[in-house]
Amino acid sequence: MSIAVSGEREELRKLVAEFARNEIAPVIGDFYERGEFPYDIIAGLGQLGVFGLPFPEEVGGSGGDYFTFCLALEEIAKVDSSVAITIEASVGLGAMPIYRFGTPEQRERWLPKLLAGEMLGGFGLTEPGGGSDAGSTQTRAVVDGDEWVINGSKAFITNSGTRITGFVTVSAVTGTKPDGRKEISTIIVPAGTPGMTVGKEYSKVGWRASDTHELAFDDCRVPLSNLLGERGRGYAQFLEMLDEGRIAISAVATGLAQGCVDESVKYSHERQAFGRPIGANQALAFQIADMEMRAHTARLGYYDAAARLLAGEPFKKQAAIAKLYSSDVAVQNARAATQVHGGYGFMNEFPVARAWRDCKIFEIGEGTNEVQRMLIARELGLPQ
């Protein structure tokens, strides 16, 4: 399985790299420090067409593909992964389910602005009581006349409270299946709907320039037509989305890992100790060589999963491996990069400090690494 980064993919990759270097790198540290959402950067990336990359032009997309989208995410994450995750969540969790499962009306209403980056979307699956066990959803939605009435709460929802948040799609129990299991569906809740309370921004260890809130639903009413996809298929639908999303998360983790290499190479030229640049010490050079090896292999992992996705082949296992491996690599590289930077690596104004604070979430978000191992084991047919 192989996939080529050439032609317009390569041009786009370079363009996003240039944008990240010129427009994100100089300012993002301050946003991050203040825990402030970088609206202008998001708007700029919208104009570049990044949010529309995996969608065809008929629905307002840029006419690229999912792989090209991942390349863009990697380039952004080399500089800052909280910006990359904002895009990943809006595209993968906000727009993609609507594109895949939405009615023509839902597509028309939400996609154009989402794909232009003028609006953000989110997906509320995790609840305060649990995320890994996604089937244990407590949030309920019942039909009352021509409306759904939603009650419950969601935790850690990305993109749920920005000025430009358009909606959050939430998973909720809508009944009981004939076999006695919960019937779970997904429902689009527009921002500002009465009965939905957006909690205050969490105080996060990392990803501080991204937007994350708890949501509370108290007799929150939306039209029946806000049901996304088939009733009772919600669980299956979002699991399908998460498979794909893991490739994108892996691209973001790979970007973080590569950013650590790039910063370390630069610093090991500049910093002098014992009368020579620190990079001239083999002990340090080897650490950086290992970092490069890990970032490279992580990249191969998500390239392969993306190639399968584009070719219409099964990619569940490969996506889980890519996510699992690249998040591991992100943590290892962030740790090594901090070491290369010595005391300065522990200072917030150095980009590697952001990498250190951000890397851990990759082992947790969009399916913990334990969950990835469960998926891989299941794909291998191990006894359940």
């Binding site: 041009e11 786009l12 363009l15 700029g44 104009q47 067409g49 840029s62 690229g64």
Partner: protein
């Protein structure tokens, strides 16, 4: 309106640059970018096209690799491009460059030509004036603002201590500084569309230019010698022992800085 923007590909001024044995810039091994000032020229051309409903044609003279810059400018939104490409052009001086570009421009008949005030590699800054002379059109150089109406162009000409308002009739060539606008980034859709935009390649023969009058062969100037800039000297450190003020003044006077 028929708008032409001149675009030159240059080695990235932010990266390490090298000269080859013959004293010309090593373009092949450099990180190649659109001359920074030309990005502003492209943006100004695109804005003018938006308001007047015109088309932007890019004109560049340069080696094969210059197509990279053409593609980038096309993906920003320019409509088509003309690339003057000929091995005999290697080592061309500013005079020869202006001769070739003037010939190329005559095939287009532009109402307005917009270009950078100077390139970051040659920094001759004379091409706009040379082209105006050869084409016998208005020269409006060093603009920080441009307005075009009723067959004339008006610029605010940027000076060290202020600006002049200069007006002239079209056709005109306008060179711009980086104070004039904020260039846009291309978009992915722009990148896709650029693939099908027409790029015409012309050789010296196509333009009826005698190869012996251009390139290293016909150069009016020659790089006789070159040396790398000496490394920066360490600064003077003044430690305050009660007399730092005096020492500072002494230093500034000695360096003729005050």
């Amino acid at each position: 309106m028929n708008i032409v923007v001149l675009v030159k590909q240059v080695p990235d001024s932010g990266a390490e640059r090298q000269l080859t044995a013959d004293g010309t810039i090593d373009r092949e091994n450099a990180t190649r970018v659109i001359n920074e000032m030309d990005e502003y020229a492209i943006e100004e051309g695109l804005r003018l096209a938006d308001t007047t409903g015109g088309e932007v044609t890019l004109v560049t003279m340069g080696p094969d690799e210059a197509t990279e810059s053409i593609r980038k400018a096309l993906s920003m939104g320019a409509h088509k491009a003309l690339h003057v490409l000929d091995p005999a052009l290697h080592g061309s001086c500013a005079l020869a460059t202006s001769r070739v570009l003037a010939q190329a421009l005559q095939t287009i008949n532009p109402d307005i030509i917009i270009c950078g005030a100077e390139s970051t590699d040659g920094r001759v800054g004379a091409l706009p004036a040379m082209l105006a002379e050869r084409l016998n059109i208005t020269a409006l150089t060093g603009a920080r603002k441009l307005t075009v109406e009723d067959g004339s162009a008006t610029i605010e000409r940027q000076l060290d201590d202020g600006y002049q308002v200069v007006q002239g009739s079209l056709p005109a060539i306008v060179s711009v500084w980086d104070t004039i606008n904020e260039p846009r980034y291309p978009s992915f859709r722009g990148i896709m569309q650029a693939k099908s935009k027409p790029v015409t390649t012309l050789s010296l023969a196509d333009l009826n230019v005698d190869p012996s009058t251009v390139g290293s062969a016909g150069a009016s100037t020659e790089v006789v010698q070159h040396a790398p800039r000496p490394p920066r000297q360490a600064g003077v450190k003044i430690v305050d022992e009660g007399d730092a003020g005096d020492k500072l003044v002494e230093f500034l006077l000695a360096e003729k800085l005050v």
